[in-house]
Subunit: 257 residues, 2 copies
């Protein structure tokens, strides 16, 4: 590559989240970085886009970084759309999203704002990676992730990704003194959430709910992202956004519809 690669950085925890700030500082070592991130947390936003209301996109500066960044009132998918359409002069060479504070492995990918940004970039034909750390804490330790994130990003910049594929990278939370055992290329584990709605009464006497739940692992085998993460491996899942269940097309053609 002659000039420095152009890298779009976004997330779903908001522009001040330590996960994003760490990801920016890693990408600053690799290329020309443009940051466009939500102005507030967008966890659980899935692939939402803003159709019925306005989107603001303000130039701001954050922490010690001298460069201007864009703080956007939209969803993570909006951020990528507005970056590509309005802000960047050319298509970026890479889009990275995260580092998410919390897991986007298994079924969580469907609810993930972090991964929706990566997938949106993939739809636009941009090589894209979502990074997540299995630690919800604002003060999570991202230090041990740096060299791995840099290596994965450089490899994607070098090789590109097949059309219609983006990467979902999850890092396990390490116990004190431990290190990652390595990287496992994995598949999305079968799982769901067993919801446990917390029903309460508001001060006006009206019932309302908080969504809570327990993660139910419904898979087995050593090739899933959950297995990798539970065994201190970094999980890398190649993800596609063609949702067609090709395996069922021929059977369905036999139905009398």
């Amino acid at each position: 590559m002659q000039s420095k690669p152009l890298i779009l950085v976004t997330n779903d925890d908001g522009i001040t989240a330590p996960g994003l700030r760490n990801l920016i500082s890693i990408m600053d070592e690799i290329g020309d970085v443009v940051v466009i991130a939500p102005d507030s947390p967008q966890s659980g936003m899935g692939h939402a886009i803003t159709l019925d209301s306005t989107i603001y996109c303000d130039l701001v500066t954050n922490d010690d970084r001298k460069k201007q960044e864009y703080r956007c009132s939209g969803t993570p998918a909006d951020c990528v759309k507005i970056a590509v359409s309005e802000i960047l002069d050319r298509k970026p060479d890479l889009c990275v999203s995260g580092i998410n504070h919390g897991s986007n492995s298994s079924i969580n990918i469907l609810y993930s704002g972090t991964m929706s940004a990566a997938i949106e970039a993939g739809i636009e034909g941009i090589p894209a990676i979502g990074f997540s750390l299995l630690d919800y804490s604002w003060n999570a330790d991202f230090e041990k992730l740096r060299k791995h994130i840099k290596k994965i990003a450089l490899e994607v910049l070098k090789k590109g990704l097949p059309e219609g594929v983006v990467l979902n990278v999850n890092f396990p939370k390490l116990k004190e003194g431990k290190d990652f055992k390595g990287i496992r290329i994995s598949r999305q584990a079968k799982a769901n959430w067993k919801e446990e709605f917390d029903k309460r009464i508001n001060p006006q006497g009206k019932e309302y709910y908080w969504l809570t739940g327990k993660f139910k692992y419904l898979d087995e085998g050593e090739d899933t992202d959950i297995w990798a993460l539970e065994n201190d491996y970094i999980s890398v899942v190649p993800v596609q956004f063609d949702l067609t269940a090709h395996r069922f097309i021929n059977d369905l053609k036999e139905w009398k519809l």
Copy 2:
């Protein structure tokens, strides 16, 4: 089936949308119907769930239907979660979502609240179908869809669906006097949106955007949902929520990560 099937009905256009009211009236002919739908339009919500705020779920009655229904402040995916966890005594035999006012074919499925509800039901192990009509009008004519929706729903009730698969059914908008040519089992067409953000200045002098765009069809062949719809066929795409790009796993294992 001995007793009447239990059918969960939801949508993303809100509980008063004619598309939902039509779907309810069709399902009332087939089984015991429970309606849990958003209290306001949720188009473009993708697979969002409500993590950071409260969810209300009120009993209401609508139009001439005598039965009580649930009007929910959450997203379509929330509606399914709360139905399964809090409202229904047993797992429903079928979940139908829609009839959406507008297309959920091709890449639109990723942004679709209608399909997120169907997929959420699929994750919970419930046979599920999303129905959409390519007509954004509130006064769209749903009459010609009735017999097809009934037939598809009855067939799914009879046969079930494979684990991890739901159906995405889209109806073309017919020209006056025309009828559907039949049903085509299709795959999700490759396409994206070329965004065209409409930049404006608010009364306080601050820039803001409206998201608009043009649909870009990037596919060819006669086996896509877009082809079917453009040729007056009803499109049925089997959809999965394992997003793993299995085709790329072996190549990725060769990378030096």
